[in-house]
């Protein structure tokens, strides 16, 4: 029954007492039990905590009380610190870490009554596009190519969160997006994923990867559901100096605005030579849908698009090498005993970090090191300024941009593992918005010839999530996306 509900319909059913939070939570825990051996979407499942939270929600609902998320079972990316519940970042180096505090985003969700089912799998420290770099094993995409049972990746880094929602193991989930880590897995798993404006959600208590890019955001099966969840996640937090003190709008209401009179930009640089015809065709279809719904379509240019990835792969590793310096084997996490302090640092970090994290720390260390700082890091920061200017200029002419989310559908486990740069190319369409800090959403809009889902991305102005939700909702209604993943929870399974 878990796939029959959305966050919104489950909320209504709970308030009308047609279903109890305990029944809803038990159904999701049963789905996790049934599907987890195949999908491995979770690192830690917390059934006792979930049922206790569900009972508290039922008691509150019985008194006619309750917040926006009361009794709704959701999953949390294992990058958010959860008080008393192990938080690993999918890394050996944090394997034993039990946070003594709660991240602000998850605290906001608990304030609003959410039920936490557990902590979802991710690429180690959110560094990856496939959820295969997790120290706890890969997550498998619930979708399969028609007539084949090849295991596919769910995208990444928030692949566990996306797979759990797609398969019906959670109504919604949290992710984080640094260069595409919400939008690309949403596209690969046929669900909706939203990266808000940098500063919209607090980063306090989120294990840091690249602090000038990291931003928490929601996954769900409908645009409205992501709007509901973002409404709870967002808000000013004095504990994060980059979180912005401005009111949180009614995002769910914005989903009903429509696009009549909006100007939608189509960035010509996103037409790439190697783009599959099916994705190009879906993009053209998306343009037609928005035009039919009353939007004006405008050709725009973001001239520095092609330099987004290279810029990202300087800035993000540089910040990561600095952020991950804290894992020293002294204060928390893994320690490899040694006779000398330097040996302790070096042996602990050699044993604790996986190959991709090590690569990025080394790249970051190199581009920040004496003699190379100006040539790499300073140069990248200047190109970053040009990429931001591209968006600022475009948004003087248009209200939002429409692009594909990813250059391909989900690929097979083990594909693209040999060449780091090939893996990085997954984020070619999502990285520019991250670099500029603007909000973006991926909405499932169609399937490819193998029956795999493909997403379209809507990008908006800083702090104009409302227009992004409005445009995303129109695409969702026009696409009538109804395909279902092969591995999912259904009555009778």
């Amino acid at each position: 029954m878990t796939l029959e509900f959305t966050l919104a319909t489950a909320r209504d059913a709970l308030r009308a007492r047609r279903i109890s939070a305990r029944e809803l939570t038990e159904a999701h825990l049963a789905a996790i039990d049934a599907l987890e051996p195949e999908l491995h979407a979770f690192i830690t499942v917390t059934p006792e905590q979930a049922l206790a939270q569900a009972d508290a929600a039922d008691a509150a609902l019985g008194r006619g009380e309750g917040g926006p998320l009361t009794g709704l079972p959701v999953a949390i990316k294992d990058l958010f610190c959860t008080k008393g519940v192990r938080t690993t970042a999918a890394s050996r180096i944090l394997e034993p870490f039990v946070p003594p505090y709660e991240s602000t985003v998850t605290a906001n969700m608990l304030r609003d009554g959410a039920v936490f089912l557990g902590k979802t799998n991710l690429d180690e420290f959110a560094m990856g596009s496939s959820t295969t770099t997790s120290a706890f094993g890969a997550t498998i995409n619930p979708w399969q190519r028609r007539g084949a049972n090849t295991q596919l990746v769910p995208g990444g880094s928030s692949g566990g969160s996306a797979a759990a929602v797609a398969a019906g193991m959670a109504l919604a989930s949290t992710g984080t997006d640094t260069g595409g880590s919400i939008r690309q897995p949403a596209s690969f798993c046929g669900i909706v994923g939203m990266k808000p404006t940098y500063g919209r959600c607090s980063r306090f208590g989120v294990v840091a990867f690249a602090s000038s890019l990291d931003q928490p955001g929601p996954f769900a099966r409908t645009v409205e559901d992501t709007a509901i969840l973002l409404g709870s996640m967002a808000g000013h937090d004095p504990k994060d100096s980059t979180s912005v003190n401005r009111p949180v709008p009614d995002y769910a209401a914005a989903c009903r605005r429509g696009v009549r009179g909006l100007r939608i930009g189509i960035p010509r640089e996103y037409h790439s030579d190697g783009m599959p015809a099916e994705i190009e065709a879906l993009w053209t279809q998306g343009i037609a849908w928005l035009r039919e719904a009353g939007a004006e379509i405008v050709d725009v240019s973001l001239p520095h698009t092609k330099y987004g990835l290279a810029t990202y792969y300087i800035v993000a590793p540089a910040e990561a090498s600095s952020n991950l310096a804290r894992y020293d084997g002294v204060r928390f996490g893994l320690r490899v005993p040694a006779n000398d302090l330097t040996d302790l640092y070096e042996e602990t970090r050699a044993a604790g970090f996986g190959a991709e994290v090590r690569r990025r720390i080394l790249i970051g260390t190199y581009v920040l090191s004496a003699g190379y700082y100006d040539a790499y890091y300073l140069k990248a920061q200047k190109v970053r300024a040009l990429i931001l200017r591209d968006f600022t200029d475009a948004f003087e002419r248009v209200d939002a941009l429409l692009t594909p989310t990813a250059p391909s559908a989900a690929f097979a486990l083990g594909e693209k593992n040999d060449d780091p740069v090939q893996m990085y190319l997954n984020d070619v369409f999502t990285v520019p918005a991250s670099i500029a800090g603007v909000p973006g959403i991926s909405v499932p809009a169609g399937v490819d010839g193998d029956g795999l889902p493909l997403g379209l991305q809507v990008i908006g102005r800083h702090f104009d999530e409302e227009t992004v939700f409005a445009v995303g909702s129109v695409l969702e209604q026009a696409a009538e996306f109804s395909a279902k993943p092969a591995i999912r929870m259904e009555a009778g399974r």
């Binding site: 100096s241 980059t242 330097t342 090590r358 040539a375 990248a380 800090g437």
Partner: protein, 100 residues
């Protein structure tokens, strides 16, 4: 930039790893040399971009730093702070002896 990555010889790989405090096994050096070299070579496409007169951008955040009262907001958390320590002695983290 091109001369920079060309200089990524095995000694450079070891030097970077040393700066990052990550021990490398001898057999990892050659592979990292080729992987890091490939990534740095790919990054060099930024040489094409004219950035003259452009100020570097460190962050796109629009939050303004605000003042708060200069008062203690937290404390007496020794137990919570040490709860995840791999080793401690009383209220102190312990490490291998650093001073002879």
């Amino acid at each position: 930039m091109s001369s920079a990555s060309a200089a990524l010889d095995p000694a450079a790989v070891r030097r970077i790893a040393r700066l990052a405090r990550i021990r490398l096994a001898d057999e990892d050096v050659a592979q990292l040399q080729s992987e890091l070299g490939a990534i740095l070579g790919w990054i060099e496409q930024l040489n094409e971009v004219d950035v003259s007169g452009v100020d570097p951008l460190a962050s796109v955040g629009s939050a303004t730093l605000t003042m708060r009262e200069d008062v203690v907001t937290d404390g007496d958390q020794t137990e919570a702070v040490l709860a995840n320590a791999p080793a401690h002695s009383g209220p102190f983290y312990t490490v291998p002896k650093v001073v002879e």
